[in-house]
Amino acid sequence: MIDLLDLVTMPWNWLVEPLQYGFLRQAIWVSAFVGLVCAVLSCYVTLKGWSLMGDAVSHAVVPGVVVSYALGIPFAIGAFAFGFGATVAIGYIKSKTRLKEDAVIGVVFTGFFAFGLVLVTKIPSNIDLFHILFGNVLGISQQDIIQTVIAGTITLAVILLRRKDLLLFCFDPNHAKAIGLNTQLMYYTLLSVLALTIVTALQTAGIILVVAMLVTPGAIAYLLTDRFDRMLMISVAASVTSCVLGTYFSYHFDISTGGSIVVLLTLFFVAAMIFAPKYGIFAQQFQQRANKKQLNEVASTH
């Protein structure tokens, strides 16, 4: 009987015990919120094929963070300015040179990132480079939470209000143009919410891993469904679950929060890749075998 009781109480304690600490309660809801914002945007990023762009923006915000601290303004403002600035620079350079987009992205984001490193080492501030790179939701300050929530709320509001236009822009920008819509505006809207999402996730996942939160939830959902609204729901579920559980793991096993969140997301992805009912590896193999069998049967009846 005792064993059975243990079986129930142990996970219960595992979940409840950390909640007595204020900083952990806070870390859990903040990372759940970040997971929600990233998950919604990641559907658009996956469908538009902008994961590399997400990676670029996330690295390009570093100088912005440093400059903000030096000037004493909220980090979100500097980070957004540099992140968005990088995407404008990428668009400009691409239109003016014969380079392919991936080369331009590679040049611009490493340039911004390196500039950030130079600034960090030269401008006196109390910025912990490690925290920018890898996130630190367990030690997040009240001010940073406010900025995270504001950036995330704006992102969610913009996507919610413009979701149909943004989806049309991802699917068929030519048609959007043909019906007289402003595709340039859609392009910059999507880029701004991308930069804002990265600002939102900066404190939780850190620069290096934020791209995982921007791509993996959408990728998981894309493997599991071919309806957009279902894709959104699956993406949010996978992302929020990973963020909450990842934060627990981080506390219990004393491991990196961003790291454990992304490892969980990746495990979900692998499971989806193998077991997805229609587009999974198993399902596809099964389908192939069924097709072959059918072919053989047809052949043998002739």
Binding site: L47, L161, D172, H175, K177, G180, F228
Partner: protein, 264 residues
């Protein structure tokens, strides 16, 4: 807005297009697409048909020249929902998670409010458009689940839902069986009679004389325009399709089922 009551023409005035890899795709192309008629844009693969289409639709900026639709600049015409475009199949991401109904509804976005909330009227028009192309039963299918002909009809329904006065179809008959081709042709004839101007690009000569009132021959520039009868001379076709002897073209034209894949 009285203009929209009568069919609109398209004038292409001295267009040249150079791609970023310095490739000259079109030079000094001029032609008029007559209002209320079906016009075929004909030429071998790579002759610039899609390039002319994308120029007319304003998707790319020609390095020189001017295009007017019903006397209006393209952007103005588009704002008034005058121009519908049915893309070539390989331009569409068929894995995209949208249903046929969603796609056709996108034809109505230009009429909707800022949030694109469909009205009762929008829904009704979408269903009517789907029924006209006999795709109503497939409205909840993801677009990748459709056959080649069904895909074409879905996008044609989107153009119908948009109710553009000018409809451009890029290669509507590639990957389509003869029966579906016939259906699409019948529908195009109906739409023409309702006062639309239709421009169809194709490299398949066989079906043109059965439904196209006029023909424009293209190979990097406009080589001939006029009624289909006037234009389809042996000399013109030889000129357009390059080194191919006219006899092989005649064979191609008579060969209905094998689609005429002519390489430039």
């Amino acid at each position: 807005m009285t203009m929209t009551a009568s069919p609109l023409n398209i004038t292409v005035d001295n267009i040249s297009v150079t791609y970023s890899n310095a490739k000259l795709a079109l030079y000094n192309a001029s032609c008029t697409v007559m209002p209320g008629a079906i016009t075929a844009l004909v030429g071998p693969n790579g002759c610039g048909k899609s390039t002319l289409f994308t120029s007319i639709m304003g998707f790319l900026q020609p390095s020189q020249g001017k295009i007017r639709v019903g006397g209006l600049p393209v952007q103005k015409a588009q704002k008034q929902q005058l121009m519908a475009y049915v893309p070539q199949s390989d331009e569409v991401d068929w894995n995209f998670p949208v249903s046929v109904f969603d796609v056709v509804m996108m034809g109505r976005y230009g009429y909707m409010n800022f949030f694109r909330t469909p009205s009762q009227k929008d829904r009704r028009i979408v269903m009517e458009s789907l029924e006209r192309v006999a795709m109503a039963d497939f409205r909840n299918h993801q677009i990748g689940e459709l056959s080649g002909g069904q895909k074409k009809r879905a996008f044609l329904a989107r153009a119908l839902a948009q109710a553009g006065k000018v409809i451009l179809l890029d290669e509507p008959f590639t990957g389509v069986d003869v029966k579906t081709e016939k259906k699409i042709i019948d529908l195009l004839l109906q739409i023409r009679d309702e006062g639309h101007t239709i421009l169809v690009s194709t490299h398949d000569l066989a079906s043109i004389s059965t439904f196209c009132d006029r023909t424009i021959l293209l190979n990097k520039t406009v080589l001939a325009t006029g009624t289909t009868e006037e234009v389809f001379t042996e000399d013109n076709l030889t000129l357009t399709f390059g080194g191919l002897p006219a006899s092989s073209l005649r064979q191609m034209t008579s060969n209905r089922t094998h689609s005429a894949e002519v390489e430039a």
